[in-house]
Point group: C2
């Protein structure tokens, strides 16, 4: 894919995804509001990657600098931050693939749930804030803990949705490069509403049963789930 910038890439979800993408051969730049924090996180990540035998470039930069020259920009910040972060970046991100992994989670009586988002989902909010970008949602249900534990393989289905079929196809191909993740094409971006809700359920099951879970869609016809289908 070329270079992948991860906004909020010093948080556990963004950093874990960055590690997995680097292991599959992608050049990664983790972004943060503070350049120093980003370069520190990148340095630690690079040490782990080198120990795992991976020498893919992995660097850190302030968010705005990170997106320069990136082919894909991942949004991995807390949902509360996107309304402030994204509008100034919209011109830079025009006509680019923006990969949204955000979950708008809140806790009510110790249970995770999704907060009510007027747009319907964090994904739809991000697409509204970046109207000229090709927003694709994926990796919403993948546990940060599992992503970061690079000594272990991941497992599960990565459900992908977007209103931009070409961009969606690119992300399906990207998922395919991470061993044992199976990409599943769920079509339009509105499906992100369900993906975000699934994350809350998995986190509650994790806490209840003291495990780290992921999901599998049973009943897909081929082994991959990523075939292009008729209708959009």
């Amino acid at each position: 894919m070329g270079r992948i910038a991860i906004l909020g890439g010093t948080g556990p979800e963004g950093l874990g995804l960055g590690l997995r993408l680097a292991l599959s051969g992608e050049e990664v730049v983790v972004g943060s509001r503070q350049a120093q924090r980003a370069t520190d996180a990148a340095e630690r990540a690079r040490a782990r990657l080198v120990a795992a035998g991976c020498r893919t470039p992995f660097s850190g930069a302030e968010n705005r600098a990170a997106v320069q020259g990136a082919d894909v920009v991942v949004i991995a910040t807390p949902f509360a931050g996107v309304a402030e972060l994204l509008p100034p970046l919209a011109p830079d991100l025009a006509d680019r693939l923006v990969l949204d992994v955000v979950n708008p989670l809140i806790r009510v009586n110790k249970q995770f749930t999704i907060e009510h988002v007027p747009d319907g989902s964090a994904a739809e909010t991000i697409q509204r804030l970046l109207p000229r970008s090709q927003v694709v949602s994926a990796f919403k249900n993948e546990s940060a803990e599992e992503l970061n534990a690079i000594e272990h393989p991941v497992d599960g289905d990565v459900v992908v949705c977007s209103d931009h079929p070409d961009a969606r196809a690119r992300v399906l191909a990207l998922v395919e490069r991470i061993p044992r993740y199976r990409p599943v094409d769920a079509g339009p971006l509105v499906n992100a509403r369900s993906l975000e809700a699934i994350t809350a359920l998995l986190l509650n099951i994790n806490r209840r049963h003291r495990v780290v879970t992921s999901i599998r869609i049973l009943g897909l016809k081929d082994g991959k789930g990523s075939q292009e289908a008729a209708s959009d």
Copy 2:
């Protein structure tokens, strides 16, 4: 469990669930607003069960009559109907196990999604309308088509949630009796928000890939997923 009444039991989801419950040995009464429709549906269902070698009692009745003497009452009506149907039944359903399988689905641009429910989910609305009942949500993601195809086994995880732990345990045990379904205890009822959203996703994947899907939670430690856990 004794006798199970299914309100809205002549619709495909309710009837399919009734068939599976009858096959696992439960006595079923399908309810409808019209007694004749219920008895007709029950007669056809009974013929199918007998052909499959099952002679469990399976009858039909008007909704209000169906709940009399039932040990479990399943709500399988469209969500739009519950605000009218349930309040008059609330005294009858007090202190009883009410099994909610309702999904508040709408379609937007050919995609299924869940409608915005002020209570957070259909499940929470039903619990609010039946404050003295023990509402348990389950079977929300199980395809009506698959439930009705009794010549084939079902497959997948049936995620169960409720604010009433004893009632939840009873439903987990009920799920266990249906071959190949695995019960998964998701804890409190708020998790129904996620279950309802999952249904929309599965329906969209089904339509897109021309398949019938279900879900599996990967990473649970035992084979069943239904063990009681520490926190509620």
